[in-house]
């Protein structure tokens, strides 16, 4: 039974991954892209915690998720700082303007 529950969570987490990747692959706004990353991040926390639930070690999974969230904050701060700087440099948030480096 508990395994079934795990599978349900995993399926929904997969849905989050799909949404995030769809966003990353098709969207053009840098901030929108990062929203995609955030959605993937939620999927990851869901996977971690549901795994802990399935393994009956929810406390351990909880601590992992907390660590992961702290990590995410730090990452978001850096990413948004980069985005703001990019906006200042390019006056645009379009990912298509970011093709200066190629070849």
């Amino acid at each position: 039974m508990i395994m079934n529950e795990w599978i349900v969570y995993l399926l929904f987490a997969a849905g989050m991954f799909f949404l995030g990747l769809y966003c990353l692959l098709t969207m053009r706004n840098l901030i929108k892209l990062f929203i995609g990353i955030e959605i993937i991040g939620k999927g990851v926390s869901l996977v971690l915690l549901s795994t802990g639930l399935a393994r009956k070690s929810i406390l351990l999974a909880q601590s992992l998720v907390v660590t992961y969230i702290v990590l995410e904050v730090s990452l978001v701060a850096v990413a948004l700082a980069v985005i703001i700087n990019l906006y200042r440099a390019n006056q645009s948030l379009d990912i298509r303007s970011l093709t200066r480096l190629k070849g």
């Binding site: 990747l21 990353l24 692959l25 098709t26 892209l33 990912i95 298509r96 970011l98 093709t99 200066r100 480096l101 190629k102 070849g103």
Partner: protein, 622 residues
């Protein structure tokens, strides 16, 4: 005289070299006086050491290798000669090199060469010997390259030829070391058989290469044109002859015991004879005084090698005596040529003539030295050549003696031509009368000293022969050998001397004949021989540097590299150029296009890669 004096003998000129380098260019006279004082002190030390004759000093050096210096009869004599020449040439350079743009370096290199040469003569261990010997290679290069624009090429040539010879010597030393187990020269005494014979030949190449024998001579005539004339008087004429023949004598007498009539002895004699004849033939037809002299510098080495190669006491003594004599008159000749160049501005025989009136002292000095080198009685050249003839005949091979005589004929003929063209005969039209003056005294003194020494060593040959040469040979000859070389020194009334005199007369005849044929132009006196049927071809080839191993080697390498380039490199290159590059650049272009900078693109690759890897791992796991 403590043993450390030996060390000072080396260090004094070395420090002087450093000091001379440091003297600023603008300061007058300091450099010259420093050089003169240093040379004089060296000469004094050499005299003092010559009086002592027996010293040795050694110290640990480079770990287990010992810096061993040993003075005895032979090195003392050579040392004296070297120091004497150092002094004379320094004196001469005071005026001659005064305006040279790199005069600092010039003096520094001269004294450094002296230091290294002293070291090479004194060292009794192969390692320091090689060290000093190779050091000389560097100063040789540096001195030639002082000459000017084209000198660099000549310097490279000299460096490579000498370097190859030195490499041969090092190989030889290696063999000797493995055979004898010691690096100390005085402890070695090998019979030149088997591998030792190879070692002998290799070391011999090193020695005669330094002395400038054929076929290692080709840089000398080039250097005569490019390098400063004082360098010619200093290095090829004096220092290198002394060092090379000194080492050759040490090799033949000390390190190996060369037997008269053995194969190696004959090899040496062949080299000597060939050097005499071929080089003198080249000297004969030169139109430039310095080039002419430089070919003689090669030719005369042949006498020394021939003399030592006979391996009989009188031959060896003759070779050694010829060595010191040659150093004197050849230096004298080069210095006279320098004097002429200094005042007349050229050494081209065609543009000179009748200089004896304006430069009487130079002319006198040149005449004496020229007669000495030609072996005219009673000058020193006569005595030493007679001894070499005697030695050559004593081995029983008349052919070598004949070669030596042929050499004597052409030597005299070429010097008749040279002297006639430069100092006597009609004055050249290009030169306004009275424009040329005699050179200053500091240039003349060395010439005169050398000329006087030529006369002294000839007339009073007993002195050098008993004082210098005899003890050297005596220390190596077997007991009871006939060691009185003075018995027939100036004796004109024996067969050999008779033939020599006849040769000189023949040479005179050739010169007069050529002079008349050439329309009373002295510089054309050698033309009849130049254009003689067989010789013409040889000379043409020689002009084209057919016999120059360096030039031929360079040509060969160029040819080889051309063949390699066209035959191997280009086809490979074509494969790369046309094949690999085309495919490669197409591939590269495709890949570069794929990296278009779009984030979604890159992410898609990554996700695609993930899918592929998952599939791959799962397929491979089953």
């Amino acid at each position: 005289m403590t043993p450390t004096t030996l060390l000072w003998m080396i260090l004094l000129p070395a420090f002087s070299a450093l000091a001379l380098l440091a003297v600023p260019k603008t300061v007058k006279y300091v450099r010259e006086s420093l050089a003169l004082v240093s040379a004089a002190v060296s000469l004094y030390l050499a005299f003092a050491l010559f009086a002592v004759k027996d010293l040795s000093w050694s110290a640990a050096w480079l770990g287990s290798i010992r810096l061993e210096l040993r003075l005895y009869q032979f090195p003392a004599f050579i040392l004296l000669g070297l120091a004497g020449f150092l002094f004379l040439i320094t004196l001469y350079s005071v005026v001659k090199m005064k305006d040279h743009p790199r005069v600092n370096e010039y003096y520094a290199y001269i004294f450094l060469s002296a230091a290294l040469a002293f070291g090479a003569v004194l060292s009794d261990n192969f390692v320091p010997l090689v060290f000093f010997w190779e050091g000389l290679l560097v100063t040789l290069y540096a001195l030639i390259s002082l000459g000017g624009k084209d000198a660099h090429r000549t310097a490279t040539k000299a460096f490579i030829i000498s370097g190859l010879c030195d490499f041969a010597m090092i190989l030889g030393i290696g063999i000797v070391w493995s055979l004898s187990g010691t690096m100390t020269i005085s402890e070695i005494g090998l019979k030149p058989e088997g591998p030792a014979a190879l070692a002998f030949v290799l070391m011999m190449i090193g020695a005669i290469g330094k002395a400038g024998a054929m076929p290692f001579h080709t840089w000398i005539p080039d250097a005569a044109v490019d390098a400063p004339v004082t360098f010619m008087a200093f290095m090829p004429a004096a220092f290198e002859k002394l060092l090379g023949i000194y080492l050759l004598a040490r090799i033949c007498l000390d390190i190996f015991h060369l037997e008269p009539g053995s194969g190696l002895s004959i090899l040496l004699m062949v080299i000597g004879a060939a050097t005499i004849v071929l080089a003198v033939m080249m000297a004969l037809v030169q139109k430039d005084l310095k080039r002419l002299l430089s070919y003689h510098a090669v030719s005369q080495v042949g006498y020394m090698i021939l003399g030592i190669g006979t391996a009989v006491p009188i031959g060896i003594a003759g070779g050694l005596f010829h060595m010191i004599n040659h150093a004197m008159y050849k230096s004298g000749l080069f210095l006279s040529a320098g004097s002429v160049e200094h005042r007349a501005g050229t050494t081209d025989l065609r543009k000179l003539g009748g200089l004896a009136r304006e430069m009487p002292v130079t002319a006198a000095g040149f005449t004496v030295c020229a007669l000495a080198i030609s072996g005219v009685w009673p000058l020193n050249g006569f005595v030493s050549k007679e001894m070499v003839f005697h030695g050559a005949l004593e081995t029983g091979s008349i052919i070598f003696a004949v070669a030596a005589w042929v050499g004597a004929i052409f030597t005299f003929a070429s010097f008749l031509k040279a002297g006639h063209s430069v100092f006597f005969g009609k004055r050249s039209e290009e030169r306004a009368p009275g424009k040329v003056k005699e050179s200053p005294w500091t240039m003349l003194v060395p010439i005169l000293v050398l000329a006087l020494l030529c006369i002294t060593f000839g007339v009073f040959n007993k002195l050098p022969l008993t004082q210098f040469i005899q003890p050297i040979v005596a220390s190596h000859a077997e007991a009871g050998a006939h060691l009185d070389f003075t018995s027939h020194a100036l004796d004109l009334f024996n067969l050999i001397a008779g033939i020599s005199v006849a040769c000189l007369l023949l040479a005179f005849g050739i010169h007069v004949y050529g002079f008349k044929r050439g329309g009373n132009k002295a510089y054309l006196a050698s033309e009849p021989i130049h254009h003689a049927p067989f010789f013409k071809q040889m000379y043409d080839w020689a002009e084209k540097r057919f016999f120059d191993i360096y030039e031929q080697g360079v040509k060969f390498l160029q040819g080889l590299s051309w063949v390699l380039f066209k035959g191997i490199d280009r086809p490979i290159d074509a494969v790369f150029e046309k094949g690999a590059t085309a495919v490669g650049s197409a591939f590269t272009g495709l890949l570069r296009k794929a990296h278009n900078g779009h984030y979604a693109n890159y992410l898609a690759w990554a996700l695609g890669g993930l899918v592929v890897i998952i599939a791959l791992v799962n397929v491979l796991l089953k």
